[in-house]
Symmetry: C2
Subunit: 360 residues, 2 copies
Amino acid sequence: MMKFIPMVAAALTLTASAQAQEPGAAPSPNQIVASASADEWITISAEDLLVMMLAPDRDGNPREVVLQLMPAPFSQGWVENIRLFARSGWYDNISVNRVQDNYVVQWGDPNYDNPETEGKAKPLPEGLRVMEEADYTTTTVDVTLIHNGMELTEDNRVQFAAMDWSQTEDPDFHNVSPDVRTTQTTHTFAGWHQRDSYSQWVEFFQSWPVSSEGETGDAPWWPIHCYGMVGVGRGYSPDTGSGAELYTVIGHAPRHLDRNIALVGRVIEGMEHLSSLPRGKGDLGFYTDPSRRTAIQTVRVASDLPQAEQPQFEFLSTESETFAQYAEARANRRDPFFIVPAGGADICNIPVPVRRTATQ
Amino acid sequence: MMKFIPMVAAALTLTASAQAQEPGAAPSPNQIVASASADEWITISAEDLLVMMLAPDRDGNPREVVLQLMPAPFSQGWVENIRLFARSGWYDNISVNRVQDNYVVQWGDPNYDNPETEGKAKPLPEGLRVMEEADYTTTTVDVTLIHNGMELTEDNRVQFAAMDWSQTEDPDFHNVSPDVRTTQTTHTFAGWHQRDSYSQWVEFFQSWPVSSEGETGDAPWWPIHCYGMVGVGRGYSPDTGSGAELYTVIGHAPRHLDRNIALVGRVIEGMEHLSSLPRGKGDLGFYTDPSRRTAIQTVRVASDLPQAEQPQFEFLSTESETFAQYAEARANRRDPFFIVPAGGADICNIPVPVRRTATQ
């Protein structure tokens, strides 16, 4: 009886660091990830990292949140806007204004449409792009492909290694050199995929959960609202939002928002500083008492920070063999606590491993 | 531009109270629920409600959490234990010891297996049942059925109204009076059902999300780990836990725990007091600093409270016509914010409407 809690603890682990594996026991998903080789990890560009400093908590502890921005071909107009907001200092001294349980945390300028303070609303920076609703999905992926192990770019090297080129329908694709091909493709992304309650085809694109229509994984594709994903608040259609208002998911994946709002990234560190904020008591979780808002002091693109302060992160390639084993183990837990493997896993229950490597 | 935030707000609503519906606009899920008739709501027995008082927050605000216990035929041995723990006062002065982001909040006696304080661990009450792993699922439902509108019991009146009796395989069932039938049935539960990433058949049983094996919805059945569901911590197999350690889900549904651990209820009010607690910094989200634990002052079965203090709740019958409309609207949002209906909904994204009626 005295051993009760730690066993429960071991029982419920999902995110703890890999623990010593008992001889003969099946590895946990975390132990599988810990066994990945160095070349299965892909460095995230500092240009794709945002460092958001919240005001310290009531005990004076710092609260840093790191976001990763989404790569092409998804949502790039909004992503460019977000870098512009950050680089112009527009995000500095805004605040978290809304926390709705099992839904979203949302931040922005609290003075917009506030009858008492709207005169203080910040003017938007110049040069923002206005995106269309069609851009919530994408039908064309510009990719540089590789063949026979020849590496064309560092970024997509692993992504397309497992691609079944024979299925590519683009006739131009087959007319270029088999060793070096650059094309627009409607081919499905390679690797793990499945159907779920929302779609016949969900999969990972360069570590991002994406969905498509139909049963074959063909275009259009769009990103999925999993826990921790970051999106762009907007008004009623046809407004698509600029990036001035952002939110992140703090509950069960609200997939009904997919294709209805732009997803632009995800929180990769410090999520607990957002998810544990007090829920707002107003409609939709807005704070009725302005003093409950959490101040956002600064938001910086990591590449703009002094070299020594730039955080470094990498993700496990979703095309790697280790990721395939990890996804399988998430669907069929065989490590010692489990009795009955589930036989499946929701894509949002296969969080892509991301780790901080070092601050230079 | 000045209208930005409130439009965003309206955009992202899920749980706000029903708002005025624009003429011609499709109703939101909440508006559909608001239109339910009184007889579609089912009162929750005070015997199935637990009132858990946490210590006040740092500003002195009270924190009350209300849990609903699961009905037969699911997990009843643990549910009986939980009433025994509550009635013996065993839960008084325990604490929340673990908060792991996107996973669980767990509470119990912090002195178990604590080298510094284990001598202070509470002795368990006498009379606890020891459950078997087979009880994580159920193969037989004892139900009292009705026919031609004749009401046999208040609790299952609506549940079985929509049942297609012609499909019942039990031959004895067809030999009793058509007006009054009491039987053990292997029949599937009636109403909304679908397949998902984990199962060919998920549905609602008297408002609880449940799953089954195979493609026909036949036994065995088991409850599903959706957001806010409450389960029983345990050690390694064959331990099944007593109910001394409980947890609730604060993230994306961890369905891999289904059939591996007993689910016994759900949080129906005050969830934000648990989900917003600071995350623990130790392995698995345990607090390394005991002062971070949140004290649980009392846990009472509502029926034991003075009549005037008993909270009253009801849920929308999952067999009702309004629930069917609500579930369909959750899967296909057509209210003004939405552009593209999802075409489906995860069962954990169809939270069963529960409302407080009054404190007597």
